[in-house]
């Protein structure tokens, strides 16, 4: 399961997608909307995605992880649109025979996703909006 969605992410469905009889470990990462950035209160987050390229890049990252760790199954779902505090922006699930690989692979996936997947985040504060990371 590799997808961009405008609906709230169903975390349980993402986890269910990596169930495998040979898996002894599932690691799940959920990126949620925090109520602040550098101590400034955030009201809302808007995520924009270049859907076709984002899905292609997420699939490439999943393939890279699978080449490097003994992954049974992997799922990556990223949300776009307007998100409220506490909502999940991304859910990643990885199943492996043993636990260490599940942690390593899941962390690799979120770290790489943040570097290469064409998704943008605009933070809405009381005094205006900021495209995160756009400016030095």
């Amino acid at each position: 399961m590799i997808a961009i969605t405008e609906e709230p992410i169903n975390t349980q469905a993402v986890i269910d997608a990596v169930q495998a009889d040979g898996a002894g470990a599932i690691n799940v990462f959920i990126g949620t909307v925090r109520n602040q950035t550098q101590a400034k209160p955030v009201i809302q987050l808007d995520f924009e995605a270049y859907d076709s390229m984002a899905v292609k890049k997420m699939q490439e990252i999943a393939d890279q992880a699978t080449a490097r760790w003994p992954i049974q199954k992997v799922a990556i779902v990223h949300r776009k649109g307007a998100l409220q505090i506490g909502e999940a922006a991304v859910v990643i699930a990885v199943s492996t025979p043993h636990r260490k690989a599940s942690f390593e692979a899941c962390e690799f996936i979120i770290d790489t996703l943040k570097q290469v997947v064409p998704i943008w985040k605009k933070e809405k504060f009381e005094d205006g909006d900021v495209w995160v990371a756009a400016h030095p």
């Binding site: 390229m53 292609k56 943040k114």
Partner: protein
């Protein structure tokens, strides 16, 4: 040749549209496109980074463009 450029995030705001029809010399490469865009829209120069994607992949600076390519301007990404 004329290319179509998809715009996202802050580049959409800088250029004021989500699609841009843009005139380029035949066989222009990615570097030329970036230079030209930065000259036309100076605010692009202030971004932390600016990449070009061609057909859903990051393009190298020397990559030659064609009118059929699906081109996108990629400002600093920030998913997750």
């Amino acid at each position: 040749m004329q290319v179509k450029i998809a715009l996202f995030g802050i580049t959409k705001e800088i250029i004021g549209a989500s699609k841009l029809n843009y005139q380029l010399s035949e066989k222009a490469d990615v570097n030329q496109l970036l230079s030209s865009l930065k000259a036309d829209y100076p605010a692009l120069q202030k971004l932390t980074s600016l990449m070009i994607a061609v057909n859903d992949d990051y393009a190298t600076p020397e990559q030659t463009l064609s009118a059929h390519d699906e081109i996108a301007l990629i400002p600093p990404v920030c998913g997750g």
